[in-house]
Amino acid sequence: MHFTPPGERFVKRTFSSASNIYVANQIRQSVQNKVKEMANITRALHTSFTKSIGNSKTTSKILSIPFNRFASTDISSTTELAEQEVLNEKQLAAAALEAKRNKSRLKPRHYKILHGQMQVDPQNPEFPYEKTVKFRRKLIAQHGLATGINLGIAWSTKEELQEKTEYEKVAHPFTLQQIVEQKKKLREEEMKKIETRQKDIELKMGKLALWMKELKDRQEKKEAVVRAAQEKKDILIEEVRQHFGYVVSMKDPKFQEMLEQKEKEAKKAGKEMKKKVRVEKATSKALAQAEAVSTGKEIKME
């Protein structure tokens, strides 16, 4: 890569490289003359500038002016513009110096983040995420009012606020006092339920002894009936066994015959008993009458 002087670089943008070397050289010459002119003017201004400031910290050394190929070459000779140019050039010089010092090879954005400077320009967002509300809020938090962003973005918009209030209404339909009352009622009802059940149980526990007794009586009755029947049966079987000499089955016809006989005898015996009883009654009655008569007579006699 051969070295191309600054003028030629500028020229090559507008002219084709091969043919117009003579023209290029001419233009280069004129440009260089212009640069010299600028240098003279700025030198003069610099001295006058330092004089007007007085005790400024600016050095009396004249700064080298780097050729800015994007600057317009026709100079209007007003002093204000020239002063501005002086300042711009100072800043440029300082920036150039800093650029030479910065050996970190970090991207400018990252360098700024590292040094706690604002890595973005809020007025000219580079990436889409820089326009989001979330990012801008964080930027305000990091760099404060220096960002120049409207602080109002931190709070919700009217629509968002409406949504929030609606959500809260649905999530918490009752107020605290209402909930407290509801819970109180619930607990009271629970306690009531338990109380009534307890009372009921107490009453029934009081009657428990009585019920137990009744149950026992009923059971005993049933048992007694069963026992009596069983005993009767046993007696019959014993009698029949006595008669026959061995245990006869209930279903055997012999047993049935025996039973019938027994019944007849029992009837007979019963009849005789009745007769006896009747006779006895009659005799006793007669005796009693006789006595009564005799006594009666005796009374009459007296």
Binding site: I140, L145, I149, G152, H172, L176
Partner: protein, 300 residues
């Protein structure tokens, strides 16, 4: 765009930003309303025709389908496995990671906790010894009774749950304990205040506890933050009698008294900061909204 003095509303700024950046309206970025037209579902002729996607013979073509889940007679999967509701509602249960009184005493002794200031969830999280993840249903810390006998610290502490013995241990030493509820966004703000302030959001409004927690936090026995302070005083006395210690008089130390009695408003998250305030650490300033609706919302 200026700073605080600008009366332009933030909503308009956002709208204008949008307008500047959204693309031009064209056919490629608009669409009809949801039910403006019906899509033609049925295949009517040409390649939607002949069998009309129903195949050959069988229940498919004859449109006589079996019910969903039916497995042609054998016991289907959805009926095979019986219900075993061991974890029913587990995702709704709130968790309270424990901090023992022994740990608390150690923190005080080693100087990790400052007893001259009230101890709340923020202070405990700032020690960086305890982690809290609200997204995993963790709603704060509970104070456990391990090291109860040797606890000697005098603190104004705020936790999310504490049993009766723990309360007595704290109060016996002349301290004050409160149980308070914080909802998930508040917890996220509290557990890392620096990160929260760096996000640039205004301080949120703390929500009321859910219904099944209201009873706990309104009960003076639990020293709930929603309970009547007079009833709490009564319960302090009762507890002292129950556990057999003399209730220390807080007024004996008038220097520490205001600190001991310092409690948060039910809607407050940070001591000394109200909901709705925007804290800027760079400029060391606090900003308040001027809009009436916003003010009403944050004060309610």
């Amino acid at each position: 765009m200026a700073g605080m003095g600008n009366r332009v509303l933030a909503g308009t700024d956002r709208a204008l930003d949008l307008l500047r950046e959204l693309p031009r309206l064209s056919l490629s970025n608009i669409r009809s309303n949801p039910k403006a037209f019906k899509r033609n579902k049925r295949g009517r002729g040409q390649h939607g025709g002949k069998k009309h996607g129903a195949g050959n013979k069988g229940s498919g073509q004859r449109q006589n389908f079996m019910r969903l889940g039916y497995e042609t007679g054998n016991n289907p999967f959805y009926l095979r496995v019986p219900k075993e509701p061991y974890y029913k509602g587990h995702h709704l249960r709130r968790e309270y990671p424990p901090i023992s009184l022994m740990q608390l005493q150690t923190l005080i002794d080693t100087g990790r906790l400052d007893t001259s200031k009230p101890i709340d969830l923020s202070a405990l999280c700032n020690t960086k010894l305890f982690q809290l993840s609200p997204l995993e249903n963790q709603y704060g810390f509970q104070l456990t009774d391990e090291g109860l006998d040797n606890f000697k610290g005098r603190v104004n502490i705020e936790v999310q749950y504490a049993s009766e013995q723990v309360i007595s241990a704290i109060e016996r030493n002349g301290g004050v304990i409160t149980t308070a509820f914080y909802d998930a966004p508040s917890l996220i703000a509290m557990r890392d205040p620096m990160k929260f302030f760096a996000s640039g959001n205004p301080i949120p409004k703390r929500q009321m506890p859910p219904e099944n927690a209201v009873e706990y936090y309104t009960d003076p026995k639990n020293r709930g933050y929603l309970a009547d302070p007079d009833l709490i005083a009564l319960e302090r006395f009762k507890l002292a009698q129950k556990y057999g210690y003399e209730l220390p008089d807080l007024k004996k130390d008038p220097e520490l008294l205001p600190m001991m009695l310092e409690r948060k408003d039910p809607r407050q998250i940070f001591f000394g900061l109200n909901p709705g305030w925007l804290v800027n650490l760079k400029d060391k300033k606090i900003f308040e909204p001027e809009d009436e609706q916003l003010l009403e919302y944050f004060r309610s």
